[in-house]
């Protein structure tokens, strides 16, 4: 069995041992329903309280009462968006971006059918949001603006504080929902300083297990619950609390807060090493995000005139896991909507690979990828029908280096 080198942390992450440890009591002996009236349930209800405080701290929310536990990032987004719109039925305009995650985009497609007007703000060729376009789009009818903090495919960061200022200055009643699934644990999040009304995160993107998420809803924002039933989560999300997973999310949030410095320095250093390693050794590689500001762990590189799935298959043969924006891997026949919104040229879009690191990524692993990748790319490139174009590209690159 070849060694596993996992560079697909934007898809999901490994559960931290400390997180698993924090969960174990509630999977075993501490199984009480946290709402019960006997002493036996104390530990469970305390675990949830503690976790709520830790998530509050990760997001720098004012009050832990503003944190709702959900089952995933998608549920957080659905609860926020549908909940806020159901509470305020008068305004029928929504603004979002062309590069949101499908869990948000598909929901807006549904809402459009129900009579909402939705504007999709574009990005430039580096994936940076067009704030001017956003500014022009907000009007009195705008109920909601929904923008991701960091993009899952490119890692590009949106300036949430500035976005909030723009939105609120044009319409103070417009609510701002931020999908922070890819930001949590990678960069500092401050919902108060940034003027965010609602914000969603997902545990499995920062070393908690799959199937647990959280939604921040500030005390000024009212939502109609998506899941109706018992009084759990202050009536905002019914269903007996998932104590072990909530405890795990709490622990993961605590570790994430502590680890931000490491992300900003070490993870970033390794990501940059990988990036320069690839770009300097492979002539048909291009960084799809240019100089855009990004989360420290993500790199999206396009390999021209070759196709991403084939690269991934060869990588997988030597134990390296990454992902691709190519049509073939998604099964959707269309290449990534994010890279298309950025107008990544067709020569590179199908051969784009996303590398996403984590705090568990080691220097050895990065060195191994840098060592092995050029051979794989050469092999795949050698069977491409675009040999003439490739040759021209190679000559162009050599000239550039020479200057």
């Amino acid at each position: 069995m070849t060694k596993l080198i996992y560079l697909d942390n934007n898809a999901t992450t490994k559960i931290d041992d400390k997180v698993l440890e924090a969960m174990m009591p509630y999977l075993k002996e501490e199984y009480a329903n946290p709402s019960s009236m006997y002493d036996f349930s104390k530990k469970s209800s305390n675990a949830i309280k503690e976790a709520r405080v830790k998530v509050r701290d990760l997001l720098n929310a004012k009050d832990e009462k503003e944190i709702i536990f959900t089952s995933c990032g998608s549920e957080s987004a659905n609860t926020a968006i549908k909940g806020a719109l159901a509470y305020n039925k008068n305004q029928k305009h929504i603004i979002t971006t062309k590069v949101e995650h499908p869990c948000v985009l598909n929901l807006y497609k549904q809402l459009e059918k129900q009579g909402y007007r939705v504007d999709y703000i574009g990005v430039n060729s580096n994936g940076v949001l067009d704030l001017e376009e956003l500014n022009e789009a907000v009007d009195e009818d705008t109920a909601l603006v929904s923008i991701m903090w960091a993009n899952n495919e490119t890692g590009v960061i949106n300036p949430i504080e500035k976005i909030s200022e723009i939105v609120k200055s044009k319409n103070k009643n417009t609510k701002l929902f931020v999908d922070a699934v890819q930001a949590a644990g990678k960069i500092p999040i401050d919902v108060q300083a940034c003027g965010v009304d609602m914000l969603g995160i997902s545990g499995h993107k920062f070393h908690a297990p799959k199937g647990i998420g959280a939604l921040y809803v500030n005390s000024q924002t009212m939502i109609t619950p998506l899941i109706v039933g018992g009084h759990q989560e202050r009536g905002k999300r019914a269903g007996t609390e998932n104590t072990p997973y909530i405890a795990g999310l709490g622990k993961a949030a605590e570790l994430a807060s502590e680890g931000l410095k490491y992300e900003e320095t070490e993870v970033k250093r390794l990501r940059d090493k990988l990036e320069t390693g690839i770009l300097s050794r492979i002539y048909n590689a291009r960084l799809n995000t240019g100089i855009a500001e990004r989360v420290p762990n993500t790199s999206n590189i396009g390999f021209e005139y070759i196709e991403g799935e084939l690269i991934l298959l060869h990588l997988s043969d030597i134990g390296i896991c990454a992902s691709s924006g190519s049509a073939c891997t998604s099964g959707s026949l269309e290449p990534s909507h994010v890279l298309r919104a950025m107008n990544v040229p067709f020569t590179a879009i199908h051969g784009s690979i996303r590398w996403s690191l984590s705090r568990f990524t080691t220097e050895d692993e990065i060195d191994y990828v840098i060592e092995k990748l050029p051979g794989i790319i050469e092999k795949v490139t050698s069977i491409s029908p675009y040999q003439k174009e490739l040759k021209a590209l190679k000559e162009l690159k050599t000239v550039n280096y020479a200057v």
């Binding site: 196709e307 084939l310 298959l313 190519s326 073939c328 029908p385 040999q387």
Partner: protein, 283 residues
């Protein structure tokens, strides 16, 4: 992760016959950079035999495997044999492809078809063309799916070669309908037209062709089953939709003979010839 067969994996890991033939006798191209896959196939042809074939592919694992195995399938074959290869043959040779990847085998077929067409234009005479029953369909170059540049003809071929029945299947095999989706209605129309045409084909047969067709079904599908039980069936006459048969051997005296006729023979005939036929037993 796709569920690729061992053979597919072997072929994308170690593709055979990669490269370009500089003095090729025919070059075929399918797909494009925009669509995410392109295949180029180069042929050397001598005395109507493919003496060498090479390929270059921009595409996923199954596209490379389809191209690679296709070159192996055609080297040493006569043009007449090569012409008969369908996308299904390519997929079968690979031990099957995931449904969503069938379009890769179709691309192989299209590149080959393109190469043969170009070769023909330069002098090769297609003897089969004379009794080709669907030459009229070859006109259908109209683009149906603008996203992927898929013509009506390509959709028609995919339906015919693979017995496709739904729009989703068409998308898996040709990509048509897989992007904006606005062509899906037209694709449904094409499917409807195809199957209506197939049904109505019984009506345009001459009386002799019709009788031959009935007889063929009785001989190949019904008679062998009855023979297993020591009986048999014989076609006596066909008057339009009425089919007259005689039961023989064990069947003739058998109490269940009417049952045999109704439940078995008539069902097969109705399934293949249309529900408006009647089966009449002649004693």
């Amino acid at each position: 992760m796709w569920d690729y067969s061992e053979k597919v994996m072997d072929h994308y890991r170690n593709p055979r016959n990669v490269g370009e033939i500089k003095d090729a006798d025919a070059v075929g191209i399918a797909g494009s950079l925009t669509c995410g896959d392109q295949l180029k196939i180069y042929l050397k042809i001598k005395d109507n035999i493919v003496t060498d074939a090479k390929f270059q592919t921009f595409g996923c694992g199954s596209a490379v495997a389809s191209s690679s195995i296709l070159t192996e399938m055609i080297i040493g074959k006569t043009l007449d044999e090569v012409k008969k290869i369908t996308n299904k043959d390519i997929a079968d040779e690979l031990g099957g492809l995931p449904p969503e990847k069938m379009h890769c085998s179709v691309m192989g077929y299209e590149a080959l078809e393109d190469a043969l067409k170009k070769y023909k234009e330069e002098g090769y005479i297609d003897l089969d063309e004379l009794n080709n029953d669907n030459s009229s369909d070859i006109q259908k170059e109209k683009i149906i799916c603008t996203c992927f540049q898929i013509s009506e003809n390509m959709i028609w071929d995919a339906i015919k070669q693979n017995n496709l029945k739904t729009v989703e299947e068409i998308t898996n095999y040709t990509k048509a309908g897989g992007a904006c989706g606005k062509c899906k209605e037209v694709i449904q129309d094409i499917i409807n037209t195809y199957y209506n045409k197939e049904k109505s084909q019984n009506n345009i047969l001459t009386p002799t062709q019709w009788i031959l067709k009935v007889n063929n079904i009785i001989e190949t599908q019904i008679s062998p089953e009855l023979q297993k039980d020591g009986g048999d069936i014989e076609l006596v006459d066909v008057k339009d939709k009425a089919i007259y048969v005689k039961l023989k051997g064990r069947c003739s005296g058998c109490k269940n003979s009417t049952m045999t006729l109704k439940n078995f023979a008539e069902k097969i005939l109705k399934d293949t010839l249309g529900s408006d036929i009647t089966l009449v037993e002649v004693k």
